[in-house]
Structures are given as C-alpha cells and as structure tokens.
C-alpha cells in the first residue's frame, strides 16, 4: 500500500521534558507492524527485524532526556565532534539530525537489553516556544535499518553522493516532510501564533485574515485571527471545551508549563489527520469548519467542484488587494577586497475577496528583468509544466490572506543606506567610533523612508558611558547597545538623499571573563593547551590592543548555534533597520490595469509596497568580518 504522509504518533513535551500531550494512531501503527512482519519474512536475520512498539509517554520522555544528555542539548550537535558516540545522531554527521532525531527506547518492563532494536526513528523534532513537538512519521523498516547502519558505522563518516546516504533516505520519505509540516502547524497552534500573511492597503492597518473574511461582511470586525491565541473563538462556541479547560489547568499546575488549549489541538488533529494520515493542515479552514459548520444555504457551485482548500465561498463586496513585501539583507564592508552584498527577499501577498471560484491572472512586470528570480508560488497558482513564463501568473485565490509568490532579487537602485562604520578600541575598555552614512542615495519619489535606526550592539560588553553627537537624529543607549535614530516615525524621508555622520566615544565596563556554562565544554577540552600558547603569544606578537582584546575575549566565546549564520558575538557591527514605502527596490510591481478575472467581474484592485530591513549589517571596517564568495547567477 503506497503511503502518502502517515503519522504514527505525536508527543508534545514542555520545557521540563515532561509529556504534556500525546496522540497515537493505532491504524498507522498496525500498518507499521505489518510492514515489520513482512520485512522479517522477506529475509534478513531476526535481530534486525524486531522493532519497538510505540513507547508510552514516560518511556519517550526518558529516552528524550537520555538523548539530550548524550548529544549535549535538545537539538544535539548535528555534526560529528570528538564527543560524538557511535549510535548517536551526531555520529551521522549531518545538521539535519538536529531536526530528525532518533531515540533509544528503554522498555521498563523488559529485562533483556537488545539495544539494537529499540531505536525510534525518524522522530521529527520541532521546537516552538518552550515546547518540543515530536512527530513520528511512518517509514518503512528498511529506512530505519538504513539509518541504524548510518549511525553505527565504524568508518570516518560518509562521503557525499553515495548510496544509502541520509539524503537518499530523506528523498525517499515524503512522510518526514509531511511530519514537519504537521509539527509546524501544531507548534503554531499551541503557542497561539497562527499568522496569516500581512496585506497592507495604502498605509491603513493590516487587513485581517480568513475569519475576517467570514465575519467581516456581517460586521464583526473585532475578531481578527491575526496574532491572537486561536483558542478564543473556539472556547466561546464549543460546549465541551469548558470541561476540558479544567483538566488543562490542573495539568499545567503539575508541569509548570503554559497551558495550551488541548481541545483545539485535538480537534485540529482529528480533522487534519484522521487515522494519522495528513489531509489538510490549514488551521483557519479547519477551525472555521468546526466553529461555523455549514448551513443548508451554503450551496456548492453548480458546475465546478469546490476545492478542499476553500470550504467556504466569499460573499460580499468584491475587491483584490496586493501587497508587495521586500526584505533587504545586506552585508556592507566598505573594503576593497570584499564586495558589499545586498539581496532582496520579496513576496507578493494577496487577499482576493471574490465571489465564486474565479481565476485571476496578471502580468508580472518586474519579472522580465534579470534581477528577479522567482522562488515559489502558492499552491493555488497554476504554474505550467515548463516553469514560470515570466509573463503572467494565474491563480484561483483561496480565502483570506495568502502569499502568492516569493522571489529573490538584487537591488535595482543601489543600497538604501551606504557608508561605513568604524570602531577602534583605543584601550581595553574604550572605543572611538565613526559613522558616515548616505541615505536614499539616488532614490526618487514616491520612495519614502519612514524610519531608519542604526544600532551598535555590544552583547558582551556593558556600556558605561557614551559621548558624541550625530549630525542628524538622536542617540540613546541601553546596557548593551547604542541606538541612533536617524529618521523617526512621522517625518519620512522622501525624494532626496541625506548624509548622516556620527562620531563619538564609548566607554565599557572592564572586561570580565565569563565562565562558560558547562555544556559548552563538551565541544572540546583543548582549552588547557591554549593557556600555554596564549601566554607565549602575548610577549611578542600582540602589538595591537584591539587584537589583544580580541584574543582575550574570544577565549570564552560561546560557539554559535548551527541555526546562526556565524558567531555574531565575535564581530563588531552596526545593524540598520528601516522601512521604505512607495515602491519596491527590486522593480517588482503589479500592473493593476492588466489584471483579469474569469469569469469576469468588476472588482477594484489595490496594491501597496513596503520594504523593510532584514539583516542589514555595516561591518566594522577596522575589525574582522564574515564574508562569503557570491554565488553567481547562471
């Protein structure tokens, strides 16, 4: 029986590693057992083919804690390090093992320790808030065996591009991908931040999501599904929920975790994955069905099938809203040997309040240039087999806000903020800095910069005092940063460029070596060697106070996480945050006149654009900086 995405069980653990929620799917489990039986009759010795049954909550929690101890953290190392043990995830030497984990179940009742056979894999781990969500998708026994071989191999780690690598296992298992999707959906539900893409209309507040589109027409505008615990609408309607809330709170008292609405979660699980097989992960849809149900007046379309992702049809005043959001990431070096890198991630969010099941199509103007590369479309868009034709995009809009398209681009007009940042340590605790920035150079109206702030973070030093006045804007300091507001809200910068300079001095509290938490010492006991070397080095080579300070401070630098791009703390930089409205920087825009709807209706089209800063970093020109060779476009 071919299997799409089936899930054997779900566990949610709180920050104390206690199971606060669990759900098992006996039908999938039965299928798993059948497959195990089959694989054992297919051949292979018996030892390999006995697989553990689903663990109970306490067994799972114990095994999870055990793995955490073995791997050093909840996620684990991901990369094979000297502490990695054979049989553990990090032995596989792949960062994905921080997300797809294997644990060893110790059966409490069983005396014999057949350690080979109690591996539970692939267990998808998603961390959300202080919860760890574990989803166990259905795989085939051969996959499990292949993974067990990978993490027990005696050699030096696999080469790339060979058979039976973790990559080919993952490619073989869509259920893992599905399990991640489920885990993320669950994570959003329990922490209550199911966010729909933002659609802004002409600087007016954001337009709400699906519930708005259902309720807005009848005037209940206060219910907005955005950034609000989703439990709220459910609690009012479901009669049984009041009783359940009692159990949740008593549970919460026991575990000390933040309570989440288990009833909502149960509802979601039984609708989105009945029997453990994924059907639909759209929480707004599911919860609307559960909340509102259907009336006999909700008639299906006469000639078409109503898509499963659009259980309701819109009724009311028709309009289409587009919102282009661009995020600018930049690494500004101001050096000859390293070119600055600026990239834009953009997306087109849409809200189509249209009756029936119409198709919408419009040409993408910006796509004709070489600067923009489409990353992906919403599943509702019909992408022809041969790919994007860069001329038009056609889609059948779902309800509520959705992201129609994502793209990547290079900056069409040049960086919105140019210039440099220099910080020079004149002594161990004193630094001189200088900014020379040019904002909106070459930018014409209607591009408007709403605000612009430059922050110098010093996460490892405490700012004691500060001295200096910028040419424009105001400066404030916190304990670990200096913040320079160049353009403040209300007075946007439009149609002209300005230059802003700022030089000053900053005084830090004396450097105190921090004792690292013990967990970091698992990364190597090489430090004692170092002490000998460092003292050697100091005598002759350290001429530069800055370098000396670097050496000193780097010694107790906490290693970066694999989720970080690099060790932020090791660098001096200034981070710029800004917002520009009026037009996109990539040149992407929507030709509203060319938009067509079939079957034709008259609906006003509105669009807006906003550009915000992502990681917009000015690296200290006098210090070290991370860099990368630019990936060339083919």
């Amino acid at each position: 029986m071919p299997d799409g995405c089936s899930i054997r069980a779900i566990w949610i653990l709180n920050s104390l590693d206690a199971v606060v929620f669990s759900r098992r799917f006996p039908v999938v489990e039965k299928r798993w057992r059948g497959a195990c039986k089959e694989s054992s009759t297919d051949g292979g010795d018996l030892n390999d083919t006995v697989f553990p049954l689903l663990p109970s909550d306490s067994e799972l929690a114990a095994a999870f804690v055990d793995r955490k101890r073995r791997e050093g953290s909840i996620r684990g190392c991901g990369i094979r390090v000297s502490q990695s043990a054979k049989g553990s995830d990090s032995w596989v030497d792949d960062p994905i093992t921080r997300h797809i984990i294997g644990i060893y179940i110790n059966k409490e009742e069983e005396g014999d320790d057949n350690t080979n056979n109690n591996l539970l894999w692939p267990l998808v781990l998603h961390r959300k808030g202080h919860f760890s969500i574990l989803v166990l998708p259905l795989a085939e026994p051969r996959h499990l065996k292949a993974y067990a071989r990978l993490c027990n191999r005696s050699d030096c780690g696999n080469a790339v591009g060979v058979e039976d690598s973790i990559s080919s296992i993952l490619l073989d298992l869509p259920s893992i991908t599905g399990a991640f999707m489920a885990a993320h959906a669950i994570g959003d539900i329990i922490t209550g931040d199911v966010v729909e893409p933002e659609v802004v209309v002409n600087a007016s507040p954001s337009v709400g999501g699906l519930l708005d589109s259902l309720t807005g027409s009848i005037g209940i505008s206060s219910i907005s599904s955005r950034a609000k615990p989703v439990a709220a609408p459910v609690a009012t309607s479901s009669p049984s929920s009041s009783a359940v809330i009692g159990t949740v709170t008593s549970d919460a008292n026991k575990t000390g975790s933040r309570p989440f609405d288990k009833d909502t979660l149960r509802t979601f699980i039984s609708s989105s994955m009945p029997f453990g097989t994924l059907l639909d992960l759209s929480f707004p849809n599911i919860i609307s069905i559960k909340t509102n149900g259907f009336a006999s007046s909700d008639l299906p379309p006469s000639d078409l099938k109503q898509p499963a992702w659009k259980p309701y049809l819109y009724k009311g005043r028709q309009r289409i809203l587009f919102s282009i959001h661009e995020t600018v990431h930049a690494a500004m070096y101001d050096r000859d040997e390293i070119p600055d890198s600026i990239s834009i991630c953009g997306q087109i969010n849409c809200r189509a309040e249209l009756e029936g099941l119409p198709d919408v199509s419009f040409p993408l103007i910006g796509l004709n240039t070489d600067k923009i590369e489409v990353l992906s479309f919403h599943p509702c868009a019909q992408v022809p087999e041969h790919g994007v034709d860069k001329q038009a995009v056609m889609f059948s809009p779902p309800l509520g806000n959705f992201t129609l398209m994502r793209y990547q681009a290079v900056c069409g007009v040049g960086p919105p903020i140019k210039g440099f940042y220099q910080l020079s340590m004149v002594s161990e605790d004193k630094g001189d800095f200088l900014f020379k920035l040019r904002l909106m150079d070459g930018y014409k109206s209607p591009l408007t910069m709403e605000f612009c702030t430059v922050t110098m973070p010093f996460p490892r030093r405490r700012v004691v005092s500060f001295d200096g006045t910028p040419s424009v804007g105001i400066v404030s300091t916190t304990e670990h940063s200096v913040e320079w507001k160049i353009i403040m809200g209300g007075r946007g910068l439009s149609g002209k460029s300005i230059e802003a300079t700022f030089s000053g001095k900053v005084q830090f509290a004396p450097w105190k070596p921090q004792t690292l938490p013990s967990s970091s010492s698992t990364f190597g006991s090489i430090t004692d060697e170092d002490s000998d070397i460092e003292t050697d080095g100091n005598n002759n080579s350290m001429v530069n106070v800055e370098e000396f300070l670097m050496e000193k401070m780097n010694k107790d630098l906490h290693p970066a996480d694999l989720e970080d791009p690099f060790c932020w703390h090791a660098f001096n930089y200034a981070k710029v945050s800004f917002k520009i409205i009026g037009a996109s920087l990539s040149g992407m825009s929507i030709d509203m006149k060319s938009l067509s709807i079939y079957p034709a209706v008259k609906a006003p089209v509105e669009s807006s654009t906003q550009v915000t800063s992502g990681d917009y970093i000015l690296w200290n020109t006098l210090g070290r900086c991370p860099a990368a060779i630019a990936a060339t476009k083919v």
Binding site: P2, D3, P26, E29, S56, I79, D94, P95, I96, D155, C156, A159, V160, G161, V162, E163, S165, I169, L170, L171, D172, P174, I176, M181, H184, P239, S240, A243, S270, S271, P274, F275, L279, L281, F294, D298, K305, Q306, P307, A308, T327, L375, S376, P379, Q382, V383, G387, S520, F523, D532, D536, L557, A560, D564, P565, F566, C567, A628, A630, V634
Partner: protein, 1121 residues
C-alpha cells in the same frame, strides 16, 4: 479476518462490581494510560470492565468527556479490546450500535455535535481496524452517511465518512471493489469541499483493483450500495480466482476522470492522490508525460510537501523526466534560498538535491553535467545559517566529485582546468566559515569547516568498495595536495587549530578505508611542516601533531627527532630565571613524544638520534626532573629490548598514568603472606656477584668495635680554625688514642707545632700539605669513594616457577621469551664503617635462559665471572651493579644486600641476597694528584709524595704537624707505623703479581736489572725509572738510614733473623718497587719491595696501623697463591 452477520444489539450487561468511574477517575485513567509503565499496568485486570463503563458513558446523553473518551478508546484499543478475544465481537457490535444511534440523532449543538459524530465515526473505524475484526455493519452505516452528495450541513461528516471507508479499504483491499460504480457516481456528483474525500476514496478503490488485478467493472452499479456485504474476493481471502484480467478501458476512463481534478486537492490530499495514482498509471501504461504535464508545475509550489511529491515521481518515470535534471536541481537550490521557510525545509531541499543527484549519478553520469554546471551557485551566502552552509559545502564537494567523474567520462573538454576549479571551489566555499581560523577551536565554524575538509578529502571514495586504487588516486589528486598544503599552513598560522587537525587525522585513522589517507597526511606534515616551524616556545602547540607523527611507523623518525633535539637545545639556551616552569613543562612534553617514539618504533631505527637527544638532555637540561626522566629513558633504550620496552611503557597508559611521568614503576600489589614465603630463599636464584673476586678468600675482620665506625669523626681531627689548633687536637678521638705511639701522646699535649726544621723536612711538609689538601673531608663534603663492581643476574626457570610467571607465548625472539624483572632496587647495608651506601636501581633485567644453568652454577661456584667470556647476549642478561662505598676507615667488611623488584605479573619480590665481601684491596686507591700538577709531572709528584710519606711515617718529626684537609675545616696528623714482610718467592712471580694487581700503585722502579725486566712489559707505565741502585738508596733513605751500610732502624721488628736475611738478600738484589697506596678516607700504605732472585723483602709503612693486619694476608695471597 472474520465476518459475522451483525448480531442484534445485546442489552447492556449489568455493570461489573467496579464502581462507576467519575469524571475525575476517567481523566486520571486516561492520564495513566498515556503515561505508561506501572501506572498503566494497574488497570490491566480491569480492561473488560473499563470498556463496559466507557460504552455506557458514551450512551449517556450528557456525558461531557465523550470526545476524550472515544479518542482514548481509539488510542488504546490494542490493550483494551484485544485483552478479551471472546467478548470482542459483542463489544464491537455494541460500539457500532452506539455510533449508529449517535449518527441518527440530529445534531442539537449541545450534546450531539458534528464534532462528536465525526470523532465517533473515526474512532470506531480505527478501533475496528486495529482489532482486525471486519464488520459489514460499520461499512453499511458509513455508506449511508456518504450517500447524500451535495447535502448542505453535514458535508464535513460525509468527507470524514469517506475517509473512514478509505481507511477500511486500505486495510482490507478491494473491500469496496464491488460498489466502485456507485462510488464513482457519488464522486462525480459531489461538488462541495468534501469532493476531495470522495475522489480519494474512489482513487483508493481503483488503486486496489489494479493492485489486486481484479476483473471487476467499475461502471457496474448492479450491486446495491446498501445493504453491504463484503465481496467474495475478500471472504475467500485468496483473491486469485479473478483470472479475467483488468478492465483496462474502464480503468483508463476512471483515470482520466480523476486526473481532471487535482486542483481541488489540498497539498496533503495531493500527496495521497499521487501516491495512489502513480502505480495505477504504470500498471495501465499511461503516458508518463501526461502525469508530468499535470503535476510537474507543483515543483514551483511554496509548499515543500508538493515539491517533494514531484520528486517522488522521478524514479518511476525516469524517461518522462529526461532532460529535466537541471531544472529540478535549480528549483531545489532555490528552495534552499527561500528565507521565508523554516530552516528545516531549506535543509531538506538541499538533501533532496543531494539524494536526487545520487539517483541521477547512478543512472547516467553525463546527466550530472546540468547539475555540476550549477555548482557555482551553491556557494553559501553570508547570512545562511551554519547548518545550511554545511550542506551547501557538501554540495560543492559533491560537485567536485562529479567534475572528476565527468572527466573520466570525457564529458567535459578541459582537463587541466578542472583540477584547479575544484581547488578554487573548495577554497571559495570555505570562505563562508573562514572565521574558524581565529575563533576558538570549539566554535561551530571550525566544526563545519573541518567537516567540509573531510568531505573533500575523502572525495568520491565510499566505504563500501574494496578497491584500493580509489584511495591511491585520491592521494595523487590536486585536491588532496592542496588540502594538505592548507593544513600545513593552518598549523603554522593558527596554532590553536593543531588539536582539531589531530582530531581529523584521528578520524581518518579510525576508518579502515581511509586509514592510509591519514597516514599520508601525517607523512606530508612530516615533510612540509617540520622544516617550516619556528623554533621557539610556541612550538609546543604543535606537539599534539608531533605525537601523532611519532606514533606512525611509516614515517622515518629522523626529521622529528632532529627537530626535537634542536628544540631541546633551544630550551637549554633560553633557560633563565623566569623560564624554569616552562622549561620543565616543555622539556617533559618533548620526552613524552620521545616516549611515543619508543613505543611505536623499533629501537634500532631510533637508537642513534634518540639516544643523542636523551644524552644531551641528561647532560645539559636545566630541569632536574627532565634530566632524570631522560636518563631513565636513555637507560631503557639501551638496556631493554624492544618488545619488553613497549610493554613496559604501555602498562602505564593502561593504568592511566600520564605519559610524561616515569614509566610504570609504581605498580603496587599488596604483599601477601604467600609472597613473603616465596621471597625467603630468593638468594638461591637471584645472584649479586663481584666482577673481580677477592684475592683473600677467607674473610675476617678486626672487630674493634670500640672504635672506628659509629663514631662519626673517627681518626680525624676537627679543625675549626687555624689559629686554634689546640682545640683540634683535644678532639682527637678514641681511635687516635689507640695509636699507642709517643707521637700521639705528644699531640695530645698542647704544644706548639715544630716550626724550626731543616730544608728537607720543610720540603717534606710542603709535599704533604699539598697532598692532604687534596683529600676531601668526608664530614663536610662527599668523601672519596670506593667502587665495587658487581653484576646481578637471576635464573629464569626458578623465578618463573616460584612466582608463577607464564612465559609469554607466541613471541618472536628468544629474548622475549625470558622473564624479566622491572625496576629492581638493591639496598645495601653494612656493619662495617662504610658510611651510607646508595641503593642501586636497575630498570630492567632479563633472566638467564635455562640451558645455561649449568654453566652459571659453575661460574657461581668459582665466583669468577671472566668478562671476556660473556658474549653480547650474556652481557645483556647481567646487570652491572656498582656499589659505592665511602669508607670511614679502610677495613674489610661484609655488605648485606636486599632486593626489591617487580615481576612481570606485577608481583613485588623482596628479599635478601648473599652478602658481598669487601677486602682490603678494595680500599686501594691511587693518591689524588693536585689539580695544579700537569699530567706529565705526575710521576714525579707521586715519587716525591712517596718519599715524603715514607719519611713522615718513619720519622716522628712530622708527627706534630697537622695537615689541613680539603675544605679547610679538618686537619690530619700522621702517626706512622712500620713493618716488614719477607716473601720467599722467586722474583719472576713477584714481578708478575705486582704487574697484575699493583701496577697502578707503583710509583717508581729502582735498579737496572728490575727496570729492564719490567719496563718492556708495558704494564707498569708512567712512573719514574731509576737505573742506579745507589740513587734509590739515597733517595728513599733520606732520613739517614742507609740500608747498605747498616741495620735498619726498625722500631718494632728489630730482630737478628731478619737482619740476616736482609743481608743475604742484599747480595742478589735485582731492584726495588716503590708502591704508594692511598686508603680512604685519608690513610696510606707504602711498600718498598726489594726484589731479589728468590725472595722479596717488603718494607711496609703506613699511617693506619690496623691495616697491617690485613696487609699481611693480602701479600701472602698475592704472592704465594
């Protein structure tokens, strides 16, 4: 699978004795089940009752926990329902009746909700499936639910009922095959959002029909939908009777219907749909391009699931996707760039790309070109998370492998450029984590960088193939060369990375396949790193890698040893007041590396350079401990054969003793009573023997215990100051008092030393003063030492027998088969006044092989071990032992010897050995020549000294004089005694014996005949030869006693006989030996041997009269034996 007609619903059985559970009870019960373990086990016996209570609760109208309860029953259906197989059918029927009643009750929104109905349907179906007890009643009930297409408000319930039926169909394939026609028409008419479930249900039915190759018609609606009964094919369970084959036409029609509607499916539904469709399409031989047109666009979807599901289409429809590899790869690469996605999906995208490339690779290498051409786009960007960077670097590594493969295939034109390209790709890729060069070695950047390095290093060689050529070609590759160059540079620039590089080599060494790669790396470090390192204190950071190099026996130790020797020299030179600790630490670590050498190489390979290094260290290194260790290592290197040495050094490691510490001399095992017994007669097989046996066999000693030893200033005058000689003299101890001589009495009296003297006497005094000033005062400084060389040996057989040592089996050399003693310590004690005797350490000693026992016994009985007899091998079986005495008085004595040693099995052997006899001749030393006298003048000096002493011991004049000793604190006086001894032996034997035993002490030979006899022998050399007898007579009888003219003025031995004999002898006088013997600590024994043809007269003078007693015996043994 059983199928029973639905029984009429039995009346609810009366509740069992268990009291009805309250809401709280149910909650804690559910909690207990989920928790598992003991908490669940306590409910085991109550299972049937629980089900009963649960069912009745569900039947209650207002039970608030119904939803949780039904989910609970579903989740734990396995233990709950299967525990009682007998009542299972009844229970399940009750359950279905409950469901039926619920479904038929119209929803009121309070107690009966759609949510409850839907959950009940799902759970009951799940329970039935899990219990593997098919019930037609359930199917029928569900069919009635779905049989109302487009019905308004229960559309979600209908959708879920479809899912229930689909799940049943999945579990019991072809269950619904007979009613396929009805399902199809339902599917066609349904237009609400529930259509997806209808489509999926019908697709599943079609799929199963195709999979089971049933020849049913799916257009046929003759079988009514309800009442339902399972089809024959399912009941017969074989399903083989359908020989008609597939109804292709109908099925194709169904497929084309189904392929019309994918856009109504949710992404998850699409995954299900495709998984069902693909096998059907293959079985029906549909055109794959049709599927491709329909579904390939999904790869551009922002839903990762859709993207993935397109990829799953690739393997079954390879041909349809031919030429699309580049597009797929570029799409997956874009997926990894979508910063809007959660990191894990970006990682998954890269993994799919890798897995996909592997698929392509396995199919056709050429196809990879499209992917490789994209290689440059895989460079990580600055803000990519490290995990992503790591995977992108993997991709770059993969591309570099593909470049090689394409080259082999001849697919790419330029050959030379490729290698450079790979190196460039590698270096450029590494830029994104380049911070590893200055961050702490524990940083994640370092981990990622070295992971990549490893990937590039091992390249295409997998661990599965056994072909060594891959590895070899790997080693010749440009990549390998550039990586090893990079590593060398890294070590030179970033010292902190050395341990990380060591870890990398360790990783390679741990791998059976890439062991050689690690070996090769180390070799290249040896070649390229060693010449470049700076010789200063920072060198210590390279020691971990040096240690690795030392471990590898494929690398000639020469380079490293030379470097280390230079480094030791550097440490010695740089040593100053502030570097003490550093010298110690670094010196010890150098020795640690040397120890590694000793453990992993054959001694012969290292011997020369290592011994030089050790010797240099012993001699010049400023730190004592390092010197000591070096000395021990040197001795080990010289004495202990290779295998034993390695075993010995290794033992420490097993015990966890730090490598730089001394070898494992500190194994302690408690001394058991058994061991004590064994140790008792240890002297019978462990022998310590003198190398040169004593002339005087019988041992006797003057037991003058009232004086001599035990009194720390025996025979000495202690001088405090020169100006207070009186006090010195009053301190003359008892031993001096026993010299019953007038001179001594006179000394006791405070009296001015004689100041007025003639020129001759003053000459004598000058000579004596000079002589005594060279004699160290043992109370204040190390005295003169007497060395007795001995040798230690033991009998292997006996030792092994007694201590139960297993001779190691399977050893190569004969030496290895012998037992050994480790860390032997010999302790000496004596009742004779020899001062404290230092113990002697023998690090290692092999036993004597058994076949030589006879010879050994013989040798032992003879107590003579001729040195020249011992072959090299025998030498190694005897440890030379040097006993150093610092006699307080020159007297024979016995030295007691005790041994403490370790056997190979860790036993400590303790015991006493036979004592060593010390004779008077052991005390014979040459007098010290003052430092001012040149070497060529020493014979003259000795003669002068002889004359002076002769005079002083014969004449009382000097008795009053005191002579300061070296160190200036003590003074000595001379109290002389004379004696004679006539030896009736021919001159030839006298000369022979003298040459053999006394040659070093002869200071002059007088008389032409004797000179001519002795001079040519060459044994006695560097002395004053005087041909004329008259000269010597004048010289030696400077006091005026001329023996030519009159009787000798002997003090004690004046008797006629002697006089006569003297006269007789005189006639045939051949010549005269003058012999000066120094007796430590400060005494002298002078012989004037007047050699005649048949007898010899020995005139004896000494300033230590007790020695005369032994002298007599000695002379007799010397000449008469």
């Amino acid at each position: 699978m059983t199928d029973k007609p639905p029984e009429p619903s039995p009346s609810p059985s009366p509740p069992p004795p268990l009291k009805p559970l309250s809401l709280q009870d149910w909650e804690s019960l559910i909690d207990d089940f989920q928790h598992g373990g003991a908490r669940r086990d306590r409910w085991t016996s109550a299972h049937p009752i629980l089900i009963d209570q649960a069912l009745s609760s569900l039947n209650k109208r207002d039970f608030p926990l119904k939803l949780q309860l039904i989910v609970f029953l579903e989740e734990f259906s396995d233990p709950l329902f299967t525990s009682d197989p007998d009542s299972l059918p009844k229970t399940l029927h009750r359950l279905i009746e409950t469901l039926r009643a619920l479904i038929q009750t119209p929803a009121d929104g309070v107690h009966v909700t759609f949510a409850l109905k839907e959950q009940m349907m799902l759970s009951v179906t799940a329970i039935v499936i899990a219990a593997d007890y098919m019930l037609d009643g359930l199917v029928e009930l569900l069919l009635t639910v779905i049989n109302r297409p487009n019905h308004g408000f229960d559309r979600q319930a209908r959708a879920l009922a479809c899912e229930c039926l689909r799940e049943l169909e999945k579990s019991y394939p072809c269950l619904l095959s007979d009613i396929g026609g009805h399902l199809w028409s339902l599917c066609q008419s349904e237009r609400t959002h529930a259509a997806q479930s209808y489509i999926l249900l019908f697709t599943t039915v079609v799929h199963n029909i195709v999979a089971k190759k049933l020849s049913v018609s799916i257009l046929n609606t003759t079988v009514p939908l309800v009442p339902f009964s399972a089809p024959q094919v399912l009941v017969n369970s074989s399903g083989k009777e359908s020989s008609g084959g597939l109804n292709y036409k109908e099925l194709r029609r169904a497929m084309s219907f189904l392929l019309e509607w994918p856009q109504v499916l949710t992404p998850c539904g699409m995954v299900e749909f495709l998984a069902l469709i693909m096998p059907v399409a293959m079985a029906l031989e549909l055109q794959a391009s049709m599927l491709k047109v329909q579904f390939f666009g999904m790869i551009y979807s922002s839903d990762p699931l859709l993207c993935h599901v397109v990829l799953t289409m690739y393997p079954p429809f390879l041909d349809a996707f031919d030429g699309q590899e580049g597009r797929i790869a570029s799409r997956l690469m874009l997926l990894s760039r979508e910063t809007q996605h959660h990191l894990v999906f970006r990682l998954l995208g890269l993994h799919w790309l890798l897995g996909f490339s592997e698929l392509v690779l396995r199919r056709e290498v050429r196809k990879l070109k499209a992917i490789v051409d994209m290689g440059l786009r895989f460079y990580p960007s600055v803000f990519d998370p490290l995990a992503l960077k790591a995977l992108k670097l993997d991709l770059l590594a993969f591309c570099s492998i593909c470049v090689d493969m394409l080259k082999l295939e001849g697919a790419s034109g330029e050959d030379t450029g490729n290698d450079k390209l790979v190196v460039k790709v590698f270096q450029d890729g590494l830029v994104s984590v380049s911070a590893f060069k200055w961050l702490p070695p524990s940083s994640m950047e370092t981990a990622v960088a070295f992971r990549t390095l490893h990937r590039f290093l091992i390249g295409a060689s997998s661990h599965s193939d056994n072909d060594p050529s891959t590895t070899r070609s790997l080693m010749d590759s440009t990549t390998f060369t550039s990586i090893q160059g990079m590593l060398v540079d890294l070590m030179l620039e970033c010292r902190r990375l050395v341990p990380v590089i060591v870890a990398l080599t360790d990783r390679l060494f741990g791998c059976p396949k890439h062991h050689w790669l690690g070996e090769r790396l180390l070799q290249s470090f040896d070649q390229h790193l060693l010449p470049k390192v700076k010789l200063d204190y920072t060198l210590v950071s390279c020691f971990p890698i040096f240690d690795k190099i030392a471990e590898s026996d494929t690398i000639p130790p020469r380079g490293l040893l030379e470097l280390l020797t230079k480094f030791m020299a550097f440490l010695v030179v740089k040593h100053g007041p502030y570097t003490g600790l550093r010298s110690w630490s670094q010196g010890s670590r150098v020795l640690g590396i040397c120890r590694t050498f000793l453990m992993h190489h054959h001694s012969s390979r290292l011997f020369l350079r290592l011994s030089r290094l050790f010797a240099f260290t012993c001699l010049y290194f400023p730190d004592l401990e390092v010197r000591d260790n070096a000395r021990i290592y040197l001795r080990l290197l010289i004495c202990v054969p290779g295998k034993k040495l390695r075993d010995m050094l290794n033992l420490g490691e097993e015990l966890g003793i730090s490598p730089s510490a001394l070898p494992s001399f500190n194994i302690q095992s408690p001394m058991s009573a058994d061991n004590i017994k064994k140790s008792r007669n240890i002297s019978s097989y462990i022998h310590l023997e003198r190398v040169i046996p004593l002339l005087v066999k019988q041992f006797w000693s003057l037991s003058l215990s009232s004086f001599g030893f035990g009194n720390n200033d025996s025979g000495y005058l202690e001088g405090i100051r020169d100006s207070e000689p009186i006090i010195e003299e009053t301190e003359t101890d008892s031993s001096s008092n026993i010299y019953i001589s007038p001179e001594a009495e006179r000394i006791d009296r405070p009296q001015e030393p004689l100041r007025v003297m003639d020129a001759k006497i003053s000459e004598i005094l000058v000579a004596l003063r000079m002589h005594f000033s060279c004699i160290p005062d043992f109370r204040h400084m190390p005295g003169l030492k007497v060395r007795i060389s001995c040798s230690l040996r033991f009998e292997s057989d006996t030792l092994s027998r007694i201590w139960g040592l297993d001779s190691p089996t399977g050893v190569l050399g004969e030496l290895d088969a012998l037992p050994a003693l480790y860390a032997t310590v010999l302790n000496f004690s004596s009742s004779a006044p020899y001062g404290s005797i230092a113990s002697y350490h023998i690090p290692f000693l092999l036993g004597e092989p058994s076949r030589k026992t006879d010879i050994s016994d013989q040798a032992a009985s003879l107590a003579i071990v001729p040195v020249e007899n011992g072959s090299g091998e025998e030498e190694s079986l005897r440890a030379p032992v040097m006993i150093e005495l610092e006699p307080r008085e020159p007297t024979p004595g016995l030295i007691d010897v005790s041994i403490e040693t370790n056997a190979e099995n860790g036993h400590i052997i303790r015991g006493r050995l036979h004592s060593i006899t010390i004779g008077i001749e052991d005390m014979f030393l040459k007098a010290v020549v003052p430092p001012g006298i040149p070497e060529e003048a020493s014979p003259g000096y000795y003669l002068d000294l002889f004359s002076a002493l002769w005079e002083a011991c014969g004449n009382s004049n000097t008795g009053r004089e005191t002579f300061p000793l070296k160190g200036g604190k003590g003074v000595a006086a001379i109290a002389g005694t004379r004696s004679v001894k006539l030896l009736e032996v021919p001159s030839s034997s006298v000369i022979q014996a003298t040459e053999r035993y006394l040659a070093p002490f002869v200071v002059s030979v007088l008389g032409e005949p004797l000179v001519s006899l002795v001079r040519d022998g060459g044994i006695i050399r560097d002395i004053i030869w005087k041909d004329e007898a008259s000269d010597y007579a004048l010289d030696i009888t400077s006091s005026g006693t001329d023996f030519d003219r009159g009787p000798l003025p002997l003090t004690y031995t004046d008797d006629v006989d002697e006089m006569d004999s003297l006269v007789n002898i005189r006639k045939k006088n051949v010549g005269c030996f003058l012999i000066l013997i120094f007796l430590p600590p400060r005494f002298h024994l002078l012989f004037q041997m007047e050699v005649c043809d048949v007898s010899t007269l020995v005139r004896i003078r000494t300033d230590h009269w007790p020695c005369l007693a032994y002298t007599d015996d000695y002379l007799e043994a010397l000449f008469l034996a």
